[in-house]
């Protein structure tokens, strides 16, 4: 039942207070009508007796206490979903902005979704090959995983995300896939970059884009990721598609949340963010995974920029507690002009242990562990060399320093269009291991050293040749 009230009492930031409301329900959608006939959309944030607090998704500019009226629509925020959304571009509240026709929905779904029953989940276990060595080799992405990119201002996270979106595939599988892209408060140029990437590769045919740009209403951002995930869940769990969701930039999302919280005069948590930021973020990130009885999957790659590259800032911090690992970008590597500048030591894929060496090559997990350990030691050696001078390093440490250098330049560094197979990545790692003495290769199995280490391989081949001769 729709009811209209002309009793707007107060407007404060994104909030509108309406009095004398009868029977408004929590989270109900409200259209605020201005005297000029235009409408702004909002939702009920709190009801207390006959008073309702509305959170507007659009700017409250121009809304006056007199003359405005609030129409309660009697339903919560829903998104009409359809496979026709593929190839289309929408704004942050899901109105088409590509000049195309409106979507005729196959069904309407509450954008808040519902939590997936842990009992109904299937554990993610198919390896996604992204063609990027630092990811495939050391921080493997798995279908159904949520793995964010922790970046900083000016770092190439967009290029990395676009490369993942272009190259990601499950080797030997040709099931239908889609990309759902949600932009929250990013610049026109960044959004254009993604669109261009999708267009130039033809991926746009299988992509749904939701764009809330930097100059779009801030509070609209709170709905944008939920629109995207509702679409993704529909495509995955009802249309059996493998969906990759890219959300950028989650820091802007959290700021929108903080703005609403501040306007409501809530008691702030750390750095002014609301105390429920963790819970709120989890209702976004947890909407990834695989459910029993459905062929499709939702994989999430949220992007966030860490203010001052600070990993302990509430947004990356709480994100890290929810997501299954993270790719961290390094300003130092970026400064050395190494793309994709993934800081492997600060990165982690929690699901890697479930696939590496099990559904991938058997030496995968040992190689990854060896790379981590050797690079960590190599970096330490390099730091030590700065303090004490290179001469003071032990022979082993010199080798490690050399390894770290080669690792950054050959393993981390790769072209933006370079699509390395996992085999290539692992072969490259073995090649780098030749820098180190064999006795230092403690994390890989003996038999793998015999089989894969280039020197050993040659030796073994020679021995065989000798024997046969």
């Amino acid at each position: 039942m729709q009811k209209e009230y002309k009793t707007v009492r107060e407007i404060k930031g994104p909030l509108v207070f309406v009095d004398g409301v009868d029977g408004a329900s929590y989270e109900e959608i409200v259209d605020v009508k201005l005297p000029d006939g235009s409408e702004r959309r909002g939702k009920v944030l709190e009801v207390d007796g006959d008073k309702a607090v509305l959170q507007m998704f659009e700017s409250t500019q121009g809304v006056g206490v007199d003359g405005a009226s609030a129409k309660f629509l009697g339903k919560t925020l829903e998104l009409g979903v359809s496979t026709d959304m593929l190839g289309r571009v929408f704004n942050g509240t899901a109105d088409p902005i590509d000049g195309g026709a409106d979507i005729i929905p196959e069904k309407k779904v509450d954008i808040n979704g519902a939590p997936i029953n842990p009992y109904s989940r299937e554990f993610p276990n198919s390896f996604i090959q992204t063609g990027i060595s630092t990811i495939d080799g050391m921080n493997t992405l798995v279908r159904g995983q949520k793995l964010p990119i922790f970046s900083g201002a000016g770092l190439p996270h967009s290029r990395l995300a676009a490369q993942i979106a272009r190259q990601a595939k499950v080797v030997g599988s040709d099931e239908p896939f889609a990309v759902v892209f949600a932009a929250m408060g990013i610049t026109f140029e960044e959004a254009e970059y993604f669109q261009e990437q999708f267009r130039s590769t033809g991926a746009i045919e299988n992509a749904v884009l939701f764009l809330n740009l930097a100059n779009d209403p801030v509070v609209e951002r709170i709905a944008t990721p939920r629109m995207a995930l509702t679409t993704a869940e529909y495509l995955a769990f009802e249309k059996d598609m493998h969906v990759l969701v890219i959300l950028t930039d989650m820091t802007n999302y959290a700021e929108a949340l903080r703005e609403v919280s501040a306007a409501r005069k809530e008691i702030p948590g750390r750095r002014g963010y609301p105390g429920y930021l963790y819970t709120d973020l989890s209702t976004i990130y947890e909407r990834a995974g695989i459910v029993r009885g459905s062929k499709g999957t939702v994989t999430q790659i949220p992007i966030l920029t860490m203010p001052e590259d600070d990993k302990t800032h509430p947004v990356p911090d709480l994100t890290g507690y929810i997501t299954e690992g993270q790719f961290t970008l390094s300003r130092e590597l970026h400064g050395k002009d190494i793309y994709p500048a993934v800081d492997v030591l600060g990165s982690l894929s929690r699901l890697m242990g479930k696939v590496a060496g099990k559904s991938t090559r058997e030496d995968h997990s040992g190689v990854a562990s060896q790379l981590f350990a050797s690079y960590a030691r190599g970096k330490q050696a390099k730091e030590l060399a700065i303090v004490l001078g290179e001469e003071a390093l032990s022979d082993a440490d010199k080798k490690y320093a050399e390894f770290a250098e080669a690792f950054e330049n050959r393993f981390v560094r790769q072209g933006e269009d370079e699509d390395r197979s996992l085999d290539d990545t692992i072969a490259l790692a073995w090649e780098l291991f030749t820098i180190l003495p064999v006795s230092e290769l403690k994390r890989v199995k003996e038999q793998h050293i015999e089989e894969f280490l280039p020197k050993k391989k040659e030796q073994n081949a020679e021995e065989k040749a000798d024997e046969t001769a």
Binding site: E46, V47, D48, I116, Y119, R121, G275, S282, T283, D317
Partner: protein
């Protein structure tokens, strides 16, 4: 049962609903909110106004809708059928929710029975008709799973003469015994109730003196937890809290495990659900799931139910403790529970304490951990039961000075500090040996020396000492280099490296390495200790340090973690081989 009270919704704000007309309701009563009958709990009463935390999504609720009080506090159902189950925060079986919801998503207002009402259990009486019984006495048993025999006890507060006692197949609601008490005859069923916020009574508590074997070397050797002990694992994300908790749930030698996923990842719970049925109990070969109760209230499930999940879990754990079992409870993570408290407190507009947490955070935390311990259970047989608690803490930014970590540290006796730097170097488990502590280690020394090896504590203390010294020596190395150290000091660093790499590091994903028995830990420790003690002597008599470091048999220490438990005899020879090899080294001039 008390009268039901019906009021009306006045305000809705997230999980908080305020209702009027609730004058006769009691605090902590369970209420049904609106026509959807959402489950809630009264957390504040003022005049006829009740503040209710609702355990389900509140969207769509409207002022004026009815609120009905059930007159009962939030309780768990106790009885056979708890083990081998997975529940949400208010003990609704997730399997039943899936059936009721008809899909993978948890919808609202689902009413499902907590325990199976139709299943028949084979009840075998233990007491006899005519026996005088008091609270806690065992009336009979039910083989709940192949691993655990369920004991049906006289409910707390009841005493009298057994008038009749049945044997045979019954559902949990059927009467199995009648007890003539002073207040008349009482029927006893297998199904019993207990309010989650009230600790179950015991005769008395004792000081823990027996260790739990966890299979993790760094824990069992350096920072042991006792049966009935309480510990915390704080650490930043990615340091391995969940992996540690899960490894404990799998390999800890408790008879019953309660695992609470409180506000954590959905996939992690799924992982446990898939793995536990596949893992076997080392003694019986039965799936470990048969001794486990899981509570999963993932981060995106309603926040109020997350607050309740901790209490639901501990009440079930106490129930099995009361049967005389050693029980261990893992809560991952208590920080999410504290955040749920904070969120509700904020919505109630209470005056905040530190960082917005309510002022009662400390007392609630302490009250939770005090429910652990080793006790003499109710009942005339004076049986002992224990309940160990291990809570993960997720400090923002890995900063241990925040309120949840600090309030926890005030009450727990074991502190396993996870370290981000160790995790980044892939040193797992990344438990920092310099910051962590166990206040039980002195209490448990006696048991270890008696049951594992008489020189256990001596070697253990030497190992700790070496690790402490390593920290100091490394500072010096950073300034002047390794070669500036004396031979003995170099040997300390070398031994400490062996301790770190070959003893403390352990791979939770490797079949053999994932669990190490006390006996095997002892042999590994003995090998390293011999390397250190004999090596020091050799260097003192003039052997070049390098010769000691590079002896061939040292490789065997590194290989020990990969040797199966069944080949203990082989491991026993390593220490002697190392000793002999070092003693044979010639002094150089």
């Amino acid at each position: 049962m008390s009268e039901t009270v019906t009021g009306k919704i006045r305000k809705v704000s997230g999980p908080l609903v305020v209702a009027t007309g609730m004058k006769d309701a009691k605090i902590f009563d369970v209420v049904q909110v609106a026509d959807q009958k959402l489950i809630g709990e009264i957390i504040e009463l003022e005049g006829d106004v009740a503040s209710i935390q609702v355990y389900e999504e509140t969207s769509g609720l409207t002022p004026g809708q009815p609120v009905v009080s059930t007159g009962l506090p939030l309780s768990v159902e106790l009885g056979p059928g708890l083990l081998d189950s997975i529940y949400d925060g208010i003990q609704r079986p997730l399997q039943e929710i899936e059936k009721a919801a008809g899909g993978p998503f948890i919808t609202r207002g689902l009413e499902v029975p907590k325990l199976d009402r139709s299943k028949k259990w084979s009840f075998e009486p233990v007491a006899q008709e005519g026996d005088e019984v008091k609270e806690g006495d065992i009336l009979g048993t039910v083989q709940e799973t192949e691993l655990i025999q369920h004991k049906v006890m006289v409910p707390p507060g009841m005493a009298g003469t057994v008038k009749s006692l049945k044997a045979g197949e019954f559902t949990i609601e059927e009467t199995v015994a009648v007890i003539a008490t002073e207040k008349g005859e009482k029927e006893v069923q297998m199904l019993q109730y207990w309010p989650i916020r009230r600790p179950r009574p015991v005769q008395n508590k004792q000081v823990p003196t027996v260790p739990h074997a966890t299979g993790w070397r760094v824990l069992d050797t350096l920072f042991p937890i006792a049966k009935g002990g309480v510990g915390a694992i704080p650490g930043p994300f990615g340091a391995g809290k969940s992996v540690t908790q899960q490894a404990l749930a799998k390999y800890m030698d408790a008879q019953v495990i309660v695992y609470i996923g409180c506000g954590e990842r959905g996939n992690e719970m799924t992982d446990m659900l898939i793995e536990l049925p596949e893992l076997e109990d080392p003694e019986t070969g039965k799936p470990l799931m048969q001794r486990t109760v899981m509570i999963a209230n993932t981060s995106n499930m309603p926040v109020a139910a997350r607050e309740a999940s901790i209490y639901t879990g501990i009440t079930i754990a106490e129930y099995y403790r009361d049967m005389g079992y050693s029980v261990a409870l893992m809560a991952d993570s208590t920080s999410r529970w504290a955040e749920a408290l904070r969120e509700m407190s904020g919505r109630l507009e209470e005056m905040p304490g530190e960082e917005g947490y309510p002022a009662y955070l400390g007392s609630r935390t302490a009250a939770f951990y005090e429910r652990g311990g080793i006790v003499t259970c109710l009942g005339s047989d004076d049986r002992q039961g224990s309940l160990a608690l291990v809570g993960a803490v997720s400090p923002p930014g890995g900063d241990f000075s925040e309120p949840v970590t600090q309030n926890t540290l005030r009450v727990v006796k074991v502190f396993w500090a996870l370290d981000a730097d160790l995790a980044a170097a892939r040193h797992y488990p990344s438990i920092n040996w310099l910051n962590s502590y166990s206040l039980y280690s002195k209490q448990l020394e006696g048991w270890m020396n008696e049951n594992v090896g008489s020189d256990w504590s001596e070697m253990r203390n030497r190992m700790m000492d070496l690790l402490q010294k390593e920290g100091q020596l490394q500072e010096i190395v950073r300034l002047v280099g390794f070669d500036a150290l004396s031979g003995e000091e170099q040997h300390i660093l070398e031994t400490a490296r062996t301790i770190r790499e070959d003893f403390l590091q352990q791979n939770a994903f490797d079949d053999i390495d994932a669990f190490t028995s006390h006996a095997k830990q002892y042999e590994m420790m003995r090998a390293i200790d011999t390397f250190y003690v004999n090596g020091t002597k050799a260097i003192e008599r003039g052997v070049a340090p390098k010769d000691v470091f590079e002896i061939e048999v040292r490789q065997e220490i590194a290989r020990m973690k990969g040797v199966e438990e069944t080949k203990l005899e082989e491991l026993k020879t390593v220490a002697d081989k190392i000793g002999a090899a070092i003693d044979a080294l010639q002094a150089t001039e």
